[in-house]
Symmetry: C2
Subunit: 234 residues, 2 copies
């Protein structure tokens, strides 16, 4: 009953494009999404209303703007799971159509391949490098599904980073989650731990947003921090 309804919300190419865009974890305005998906503002407005009514998106009105974002991490993982489902034709999904002849598009996607956010954690080559590093250093294990080790916990504490109180508790957000990376076709880290790392990196200006998309640039400070804390050299 409800399965079909929920899937129906994601079954439209335009609404799906909205959700994929919102996977960067930030709030977009209705107009931005409309231009992104190349539909009229009126069309976008209707789609947004349906996605909000369905509980997938949350809205926040500010003046004459309507900001929307994914309703929560569960929605993000749901969409990631669906988007990373292997299609029989091609083994894994590829980034949005290269739009022949668009240089701007090409540089954007190459920047995103280097480093970007995936909802609220790090992805791209940066993301998988970080995952390799925390695994190699024993901060996270990947025995029966990924888990934060005691060593990882003290590492976080030294860093002065705290996980949200309900993380890992039943009903709360998982501490560590692996998330398939579209560009790298390998895993990077999500969950409360991945989100905390990403938030810290942004707070301490180790990485910064490039423009308004999900692409990131690693700052000189960040380069140093990554090298010292995790032995990551990009």
């Amino acid at each position: 009953m409800s399965l079909a309804h929920l899937a129906g919300l994601l079954a439209d190419p335009t609404r799906a494009a909205f959700c994929m865009a919102l996977l960067d974890g930030r709030a977009w305005t209705a107009g931005e999404l409309a231009r992104h998906a190349r539909v009229a503002p009126s069309t976008a407005s209707e789609h947004l209303s349906r996605l909000i009514a369905g509980g997938l998106l949350a809205e926040e009105r500010q003046g004459r703007h309507r900001y929307v974002r994914l309703a929560g991490p569960e929605v993000a993982t749901l969409i990631e799971d669906l988007a990373s489902f292997p299609t029989p034709a091609e083994p894994t999904d590829r980034p949005p159509a290269p739009a022949p002849g668009s240089l701007r598009e090409a540089t954007r996607t190459s920047a995103e391949a280097r480093a970007r956010t995936c909802y609220d954690h790090l992805a791209g080559r940066l993301g998988v490098s970080v995952r390799d590093a925390v695994l190699a250093r024993g901060l996270v294990t990947d025995e029966d599904g990924p888990a934060l080790t005691d060593r990882g916990r003290s590492w976080l504490a030294e860093l002065g980073v705290e996980l949200p109180p309900r993380a890992g508790r039943s009903g709360g957000r998982p501490v560590v989650r692996t998330c398939l990376d579209w560009t790298e076709r390998r895993s990077h880290l999500g969950g409360a731990f991945g989100a905390a790392l990403c938030r810290t990196a942004l707070d301490r200006a180790w990485v910064e947003r490039i423009g308004s998309g999900r692409a990131l640039r690693v700052t000189p400070d960040g380069d140093r921090a990554l090298r010292e804390l995790l032995g990551v050299a990009l």
Copy 2:
């Protein structure tokens, strides 16, 4: 691109009903599914072809029958995740419409509420009781997501049950997974461990299928085994 396509497969009420029915983990014939969803055989046939082409279902032809089943555990968890997504209107999904005036339907659903399979593991009151028991006995912890303890591993070994070799390894099936139970609105156990328990229970005739659905009956042997091994009394 692929998100919309995949979601589109599940967005149709009839196809969704097929998938929900197939969550019992067994193979159904095209005709059975058609009757179950109350559509013409021709309609069902077309739907099945699309679901198979999309990689959600696997088929097996035998004589004049076409058996279909879910393509794998990933598909089952995907559908479970979608189906258990809380709708804003009603907090959680309820079992299929009670079909007013159908006694047969009513007894079937009450039997399913007692004990049933959920893809390839145990659900219903039996399922959540088993989960409570293995948690209470320390066979499984639920700290950072559910995990099998060493004690749980030796318990399995004593029982003579083995997990598939790739279980828990990266890329393999998770050892333990919690799965929201529709009737109980609490969690029961899935993953390789949950599947192994269910398979063992069926192999050793602790439970048996009632008719052709997902409902189970606990046998006297099963009652004894559950009591001795887990302290579960129903």
